[in-house]
């Protein structure tokens, strides 16, 4: 079985929309069944009277997590092709706190508000209107807070990678934690909500019978235990190549990043991408773009990076990078870009930008500021022939310089839409 099916090209975008609709129906159905169309039931979580939110959420998490572990462990799902939202720690902490506060005030989260509105709850409809207003507000202030939203970037990273622990062990730990939380939740419901756990619906209680609910928890715990010793999930290497798609993308040049754009990324401190320098180690040693890592083309094996990691390739010009781009695309890497013009172009347009003669240009002043940031020198058009690059090249270490004004990224539109929420 080659899964995720969509990533293996088993069907196209049109079919994926139908699947989206069906999956959404399932999502909405179970949210409503759980009682999540009711703000009172949701909010009761935060007064410890009804811990349905905790129970539903963690049961769903451990069900999907253990299921995915088993399927990927036996090679049926390529885990590296399942999209992972990149981690930006501080923004996600701040966003989480805001969501928590909004949850208590509004009574819903975005998903449950849809279900609430669909079942006629006026407060759910008003909540959706408020959310749309909030999104518009965020969009309007985004240019001013773009640096904040990109801070503390850690890339696509999982807890097993962070703690350097086996994937399956973390799966087991989360299952145990969830079951512990269920028991604590039932206890709290009894103490604060005055709810006597009913014999059929609860995990803890006087009855020793193996009720269906207890069997479910036991089943999940057994799979978790298997995961603890089961080894690592499969992150595959095989893929199918859509040659037409590749050819189209080559001809449209959509996977090229301009050096100026890379300079902006570095200045903004973004590190949700990996800059790979393909040149010979000696060239790399004499100068390289800050944050680049030297990887010879022969080392671009299927496991050199996660398959959905954003990889930016550079060589002296674009030629070797283009070869490596094709190699990586063929190996199933999903997010590969080329630095347009390579290190040569980086030097020409970022380090040593040339001022058009006799013009006073705001845009050039900004370029000059960028050049100085990277230790280069802005040049005027008559200051020597274009072929000579002043030696020595700037030191690799990044000089401390004042922050540049926020840059607009209107220079290049992403060729693919955002995949995450």
């Amino acid at each position: 079985m080659n899964a995720p099916f969509y990533k293996f090209g088993l069907f196209g975008d049109q079919v994926s929309f139908i699947i989206a609709f069906v999956i959404g129906i399932g999502f909405g159905f179970f949210l409503e069944r759980a009682g999540f169309g009711s703000a009172r039931k949701l909010a009761a979580q935060f007064y410890l009277r009804d811990l349905s939110v905790l129970k539903v959420m963690f049961t769903a998490i451990i069900t999907a997590m253990t299921g995915l572990y088993v399927l990927s462990r036996f090679g049926m799902v390529d885990l590296s092709l399942v999209y992972l939202v990149p981690t930006f720690l501080i923004p996600q902490i701040v966003g989480g706190l805001l969501l928590g506060i909004g949850f208590v005030i509004g009574g819903y989260c975005p998903g449950t508000s849809c279900v609430s509105a669909a079942t006629g709850r006026i407060d759910g409809m008003v909540y959706v209107a408020g959310m749309i207003a909030g999104l518009l507000g965020f969009g309007e202030v985004y240019p001013h807070i773009v640096n904040f939203t990109h801070m503390t970037s850690m890339g696509q990273i999982t807890l097993p990678t962070l703690f350097n622990l086996p994937y399956g062990l973390l799966v087991f730990a989360v299952v145990l934690m969830a079951i512990g939380a269920f028991a604590a939740g039932e206890w709290a419901e009894k103490k604060f909500g005055g709810k006597e756990p009913d014999a059929e619906g609860a995990l803890i209680g006087s009855s020793r019978r193996l009720t269906p609910v207890r069997a479910l928890a036991l089943g999940l715990a057994v799979v978790g235990l298997f995961a603890a010793f089961g080894g690592n999930p499969y992150r595959g290497s095989h893929t199918t190549i859509d040659t037409k798609d590749l050819a189209m993308r080559v001809s449209r040049g959509v996977d090229a990043i301009q050096p100026e754009q890379l300079a902006n990324w570095i200045i903004q401190g973004r590190n949700d991408y990996r800059l790979v320098d393909l040149r010979a180690p000696s060239d790399f040693a004499s100068y390289h773009i800050p944050s680049a890592q030297n990887v010879p083309i022969v080392s671009l094996t299927p496991d050199f990076a996660a398959h959905n990691e954003k990889i930016l390739l550079c060589s002296n010009d674009s030629t070797d990078a283009a070869k490596a781009w094709f190699l990586l695309e063929a190996q199933g890497f999903k997010n590969v870009y080329i630095l347009n013009g390579g290190v040569q172009e980086w030097k020409d347009s970022v380090l040593f930008p040339k001022k058009p003669q006799g013009t006073v240009d705001m845009a050039f002043e900004k370029k000059a500021q960028v050049a100085r940031y990277f230790g280069g020198t802005p040049m005027t058009a008559n200051a020597g022939s274009s072929a000579t690059i002043p030696e020595p090249l700037p030191a690799i270490a990044k000089p401390a310089l004042p922050a540049l004004p926020a840059t607009s990224s209107s220079t290049a539109r992403p060729h693919k839409k955002k995949e995450g929420c």
Binding site: V56, I62, V85, Q92, F103, G124, Y127, I132, L159
Partner: protein
């Protein structure tokens, strides 16, 4: 027809509802290679609306651009948009089958309807902002990222609970 057939049916047991939800999420991973979401669809709708009303303004804003794509496709032809349409339909179907459709306001006994609706609007607004700062909401981050052992999602999840419990006391009159 007696009145009993019109009484709302009880909610499902949380563990079974959660199990069903987990299977839907797993199906999404296996079929699509991505998880569930909610706020992203509304963001696409907002970005499209801005693009329609003020195209130049939208073109100069990297945030809207990210949701509008490269202009070669209609931004509303988007996976999450269809998924969220499904959420409305699925919620409606479940509500119909359980006699839970009613034009009403969910609130505690100690708060007026107008005030509750104001709070719903403010809470929705905060959630909209928070979801974009965090790159996802309870669906896209906590649920999906939680199941994928995503570092940021787990930090996010604890902060949602932490933030909610920290302020719950001040809003108790709305609910209990």
């Amino acid at each position: 027809m007696n009145s009993q057939t019109h009484a709302p049916k009880p909610y499902w047991n949380s563990y079974w509802a959660g199990f069903g939800l987990g299977l839907v999420l797993l199906a999404s991973f296996v079929i699509m290679g991505r998880g569930l979401g909610a706020s992203g669809a509304f963001t696409t709708a907002v970005a499209t609306a801005v693009d329609t009303v003020a195209p130049t303004h939208a073109a100069n804003n990297a945030f809207y651009q990210e949701y509008l794509g490269d202009g070669t496709t209609n931004p509303l032809m988007d996976w999450l948009v269809f998924e969220v349409l499904g959420v409305f339909v699925g919620g409606f179907l479940s509500g119909v089958l359980a006699n839970r459709l009613s034009l009403s306001i969910e609130k505690g006994p100690r708060i007026a309807s107008g005030r509750r609706l104001l709070f719903a609007f403010i809470g929705g607004g905060l959630m909209g902002i928070g979801a974009k700062i965090a790159l996802g909401c309870t669906s896209g981050q906590a649920l999906t990222g939680g199941a994928l052992l995503n570092v940021g999602s787990w930090a996010f999840m604890w902060c949602v609970f932490g933030g909610a419990y920290a302020v719950a006391y001040f809003f108790r009159k709305q609910w209990i």
